[in-house]
């Protein structure tokens, strides 16, 4: 096992090992358990930074390819491999996962019961998330996908708020449905990849789809691609979440404990976007092209609908949850602005799509920072006054000035203020959208007004004003150093990404460029097949 292999495996399984160690500990040694869990997340985060270093070396040799491959046979009779690797698309999310997990572990001091079980599940969850981002075998991907599900179910269902059981089962069922659709698509690819051998290898499947190494087999026909894409898309859209399959999110967020909300918003939602870009796009380029209009349309509706819904909330956490729906809409738009097949599609159009994809990717990272920060800030005040009613706050700026300042910064990042991370993703996505469809671009851009509306209104009701209007006023104490440092780290990342976004763009630019090129190839390979069969339908598809 080479050192990079070890790095990849360690990033995934170090948290599990720590979870195992915690399982052997005395449940009453809360301090030790916390320390152990936190330390393992810190080490994992540091490992992801090492991975970044290792990746930059490898990426320089073969720009844009998936590198640091680590492969071992698993269930050989079924051609299932334990196959890991990293490229510019997964790397930012891996680092983000490391960061958010570390900060969420730091935020877990507020958990006040059954610490042992909590931290075991928490660490297993991190293993699942890392595994999803790093696995390159569809089967392995699916396994990790499901591995995430159970710890999350229990974390919400046991440590959650008053309606925790409802929220947990809602979350579980939604995600499970998505998983099942993914399973179907997975089997379609597995049995359809007959041209090579039955395979779950994502790289091989993507190559087959782009036509670069093998001919398209019968199963990967354009029609099948569309079906597979739709199945995968629904699965990932639930996770994203996109309108209209988003309703699990507000409930899950409201009931989940603060650190779990941070993970949920900071990482889990990104799995949806990542799934689209890692699996749905490269495996069915033709399907993606046909469905592009739907992606953008759903994205636009999510933005506007989420923003309006956020405006109407009176629960602070629910408001932040709906802001996630709104912000993740930009991801769909950015991914979907692929006008291929249209009359005006040129090489320049591909650059705009590239910009959209990178904008979407950046938006995922930025949202991971800003929304985790916003949820944490809600959690800080909730820990003190034990309510979240927006109309029963006020005047916190005077009582907790440092907290309020940090919160304002993080909320401004969510608002999309230039100089902070939220701006870059949103604006780049919106700028790339006009060439795809001007009307949708305009509607998406109008989101900036609503976003400003609900965030500023919330800030005003919570932090400004002459006095605090809710219960437990006597419990309002200044922010403590632990909370301060978590918020400060998030704010520093928000500012850093906003001022110098190139650090993320440089990571992913080779891989995204590769992706757009191979997908264009894949589309062009698929078009003749369609043209032979049904020229009329193809014309319609072109119009889309």
């Amino acid at each position: 096992m080479s050192s990079t292999d070890f790095l990849l495996v360690a990033i995934i399984f170090l948290p599990s090992v720590a979870a195992g160690a915690i399982a052997l500990m005395d449940g009453k040694a809360v301090g030790t358990i916390r320390g152990m869990a936190f330390a393992s997340t810190v080490v994992t985060f540091v490992l992801t930074l090492f991975l970044w270093g290792a990746w930059s070396g490898a990426n320089a040799d073969s720009p844009g390819d998936i590198v640091l491959l680590c492969e071992a046979g698993w269930i050989k009779s079924w051609n299932i491999y334990f196959r890991l690797g990293v490229d510019g698309i997964s790397l930012p999310l891996v680092v983000l996962t490391g960061l958010v997990s570390m900060l969420a572990a730091g935020a877990s001091w507020s958990i006040n019961k059954q610490h042992k079980g909590y931290f075991i599940l928490f660490l297993l969850l991190e293993t699942g998330m890392m595994g999803v981002f790093l696995s390159l075998d569809f089967f392995l991907f699916f396994v990790f996908w499901e591995v995430m599900l159970l710890p999350m179910y229990f974390l919400i269902g046991i440590w959650g708020g008053p309606r925790k059981e409802y929220a947990a089962i809602k979350f579980f069922l939604y995600t499970l449905i998505g998983g099942v659709l993914m399973l179907i698509a997975m089997l379609m690819f597995y049995y359809g990849s007959g041209a090579t051998t039955d395979s779950f290898n994502l790289i091989e499947l993507a190559n087959a789809a782009s036509g670069s190494e093998s001919t398209l087999s019968e199963f990967l026909s354009p029609e099948t691609q569309v079906i597979a894409f739709v199945l995968l898309f629904i699965g990932f859209a639930i996770k994203l979440p996109a309108f209209p399959v988003h309703t699990w999110l507000p409930d899950a967020h409201v009931e989940a404990p603060t650190p779990i909300s941070m993970i949920l918003a900071g990482v889990l939602l990104k799995l949806g976007g990542y799934g689209i870009i890692r699996i749905a796009f490269p495996l069915c380029p033709y399907g993606a092209a046909v469905a592009a209009w739907w992606l953008v349309g759903i994205g636009v509706v999510s933005i506007i609908y989420g923003a309006f819904a956020a405006l109407a909330q009176t629960d602070f956490k629910r408001l932040v949850a709906y802001s996630s729906v709104s912000h993740m809409g930009y991801v769909l738009i950015g991914l979907g602005v692929w006008s291929i097949g249209g009359d005006a599609y040129t090489a320049a159009s591909r650059d705009y799509w590239l910009m959209g994809i990178e904008g979407a990717m950046f938006q995922m990272v930025a949202h991971g920072v800003s929304s985790a920060g916003m949820f944490f800030m809600v959690g800080v005040i909730y820990d003190r006054v034990h309510h979240r009613d927006l109309n029963k706050f006020g005047g916190l700026m005077g009582k907790m000035p440092v907290y309020s300042g940090l919160a304002a910064g993080l909320f401004f990042a969510g608002l999309g203020l230039p100089g902070l991370c939220g701006f870059i993703g949103e604006i780049f996505v919106v700028l790339s959208a006009w060439q795809f469809n001007s009307t949708l671009a305009i509607v998406a851009a109008s989101g900036v007004i609503l976003t400003a509306g609900y965030i500023l209104w919330a800030l005003q009701r919570v932090y400004l004003g002459s006095e605090y209007k809710g219960p437990h006023e006597e419990d309002i104490t200044p922010i403590n150093p632990r909370e301060k440092s978590i918020a400060a780290v998030l704010l520093v990342f928000a500012i850093g990404l906003g001022v110098y976004p190139a650090v993320v763009f440089d990571m992913m630019k080779d891989s995204t460029a590769n992706l757009t090129e191979t997908m264009e190839q894949g589309y062009e390979n698929a078009v003749p097949a369609v043209a032979e069969e049904e020229p009329v339908e193809q014309a319609q598809a072109m119009n889309n």
Partner: protein, 864 residues
Amino acid sequence: MTETGELLRNLLMTAWLLPLAGFVVEIFFGFGLFSKNPRHSKGAAWCAVGCIGTGFVCSLIALLVWVNKTGGHDTYEADKGVEKGWMSVIADHNHGLHPHGDGEHAEHSEHEDGDKDHAAGGEQGHEAEGDTDSHDDKDAHAKPHNEEASIEGGEWQLASVTAEESEEHSETEDSRSAAEFPTAFSGRLYTLGEFGSLIVSLDYYIDSLTIVMFAMVTLIATCIHLFAIGYMSDELTDDYVDHFAHTSDGKHVHRPGRFYRFFAFLSLFCFSMLGLVLAGNIFQVFVFWELVGICSFLLIGFYTERKSASDAANKAFIMNRVGDFGFLIGLMVLWTYFGTFNFADINDEGQVTGGLFSMISRSTEGEDLGNVRVDEDGAVLITSPEGEVLQDADGNNRTIPYALLVVAGLGVFGGCIGKSAQFPLQTWLPDAMEGPTPVSALVHSATMVAAGVYLTGRFYPMFTAEVLLTIAYIGGITLFVAATIAIVATDIKKVLAYSTISQLGYMMLGLGVFGWAAGLLHLITHAFFKSLMFLCSGSVIHGCHHEQEMPKMGGLLKKMPITAICMLIGVLAIAGCPLFLGLHFSGYHSKDAIVASALAFSEKNPGHFLLFALPLITAGITSFYMFRLWFMTFWGKPRDQHVYDHAHESPWIMCVPLLILAPFAWLCAYGGDQGDLYVMLTKDAPAHIENGVTAVGDGVVLPEIQEMYNQHEAAGLWALTSAGIGFVLAFALYGMNLVNLDEMKKNLGAAHGFLANKWHFDDLYDGLFMRPAHKVAAFCAWVDRTIFDTTLHFLARLMVIIAQWDRIFDEKVVDGFVNLIASATGDFGERLRVFQTGRVRQYVMFIVVGVVILFAVVFSTFPG
């Protein structure tokens, strides 16, 4: 990049980034590091003053360097037989002014901006050759652009030169152009993102407009920082009592002072504002555009305990965002069709060439003079800086539909409407007066709100005639509506706020009727006199212990003479008062220029007579409400003895800024369209304003610059008459109290109410947008809760019911069937028991019969 360019860049970057450093220091260390008793420390304030003051010095040096270079090519110019640049004017004046004394502010300020003393010191070398006859200068400046274009081969003229012309230039002057001083500098700071051929970056762009804006902003900001040290001094306490914020039990809010935070926000604002001006691409303008917006939000809402303040802050930011939505649409169009945001590009030789603006080229002759070049389908051609039409990968000409160019222009202007509080987004500005007065002076009159005008000026080459006409009408409506409201406002700051809106309307109208230079000149003069007036009003408010209502003032001239005189200078300036010896108040020049442009425009386009009538009438209204303000505040008898008795002149730290600003407010535009400021501003004017634009689509003709100059005398007379009437009325009503005002108010109740309610815009928007938005929001939340979740719950329940049916089916049908089979088998067994007799003979009998039957069946089925 030349050495000069690098020098200018470094100077302006220093001026730009210092306030940011100041902000960081002040927000993190301003509280506590400078003193043992942090709430009483002025350390943060001096830090802020130091930063912006140094910034001013840097800007000033930059200005001098620029002036020196552009005016400094005497030898070359002499070769050409052309008069020297306007530098000679300065040198001329300086010559007569040695040695300079302290009491000569007024005379010193004849010179451009703050360079008065330094110019004299630094430009010794030019004096000898600078003694040109001033008459010649005037001729030179009457048509500055022609000379400019011809003498500076390397100069970058925005979209002005046709392909032929530029080729000519490059052929004849190629050798020289490298050595020439270009008037625009640009370069990249760093790249934000790179997507194939598309690059978004942070750049800088320095031309004469940038430099003038830098000097103006930093000077005014320095003065206002100083003023704020005095004005905000009541925050230097551990227990600040906010008399305008109440807790639910009716008491005043007590809180610690926040002196340092105020200055931190001011520094952040200065950084953002200077970044906006220095920005080298339109995207970057948008970035800092939003940042000044958030600074404005923070400063308006500085008194966070006051509901009215946080409401006003939200309103300001959200209404700005409405404008920015338009801006964003403009950006999308530009980005999609031009693929660049840059104002300028650097070519292979490191020279500055046209960026975005040169991608639209205009005809320089014939019927289409000044119009954008289009192809046979009417789509606008996209050209290179040399005027050649660019082609895409397939070899087709790159074009943008004309309508989309209009959309882009309108979109960008939409942002300007929001930022500069133009109709219909003007309502946030009066509310923004909730912020402390220094904020109103700096952010909401002199600099940030003028950013909209600045951008309109900067983006001028991209505006089509239709867009310009829209700009003119928006400006016209705004200046009139706001002025009428100012007549009835009684809060001293509100009067100034409406006056600001109205004056911004003037600038927009000026720009819209093709008076590019007029609009921007008014931007500068207005910045000086309005910041002066706001500071004076702040001085009054401070002196009267936070009384802002003019009906409670009166007779304050005796109590605070410095403030009163400075305010009078401001009033005379805004009213546009001329004076002997050419020492006209600055507003006279700038407003005259705007009215002249409007007059020239309406002569060419009689259908748009309103665009001349509105500013003319409003000049009278302006004069009326400004003198009304002055008379009500400083003249006559005290209306509220209590306020009067406690009133006092402000401390020196607040008076000195007034005394610095007053001369600028008076004389910064000295010389009018032959003056230094004007010439400096127009150095890099968009080229097509020179010759005007002949008729376009709907028959609008845009006048050439000479036609505007020709109207100055006439326009000046018209405007003066109008302003004079306004003054006489104000004097009669408020100076001599000839009429009973209460009586009048009663008689004109309906009109007064309409104006006092600000034309009901707030109510209208509340009903049109706010309520519907909340309704829609509530609807979305309802849909989520009711439709989606109910559907979901229904499905879940359906599953449970199905499961129950499944259980019943399982228990009754499946199990029943199994049981049935079991019992049937049992029964069958029972029945068979009768045959199980145990007698062998009987069994053998059964077997035999069975075999026979079997054989019979087999044989009958398979015969043969």
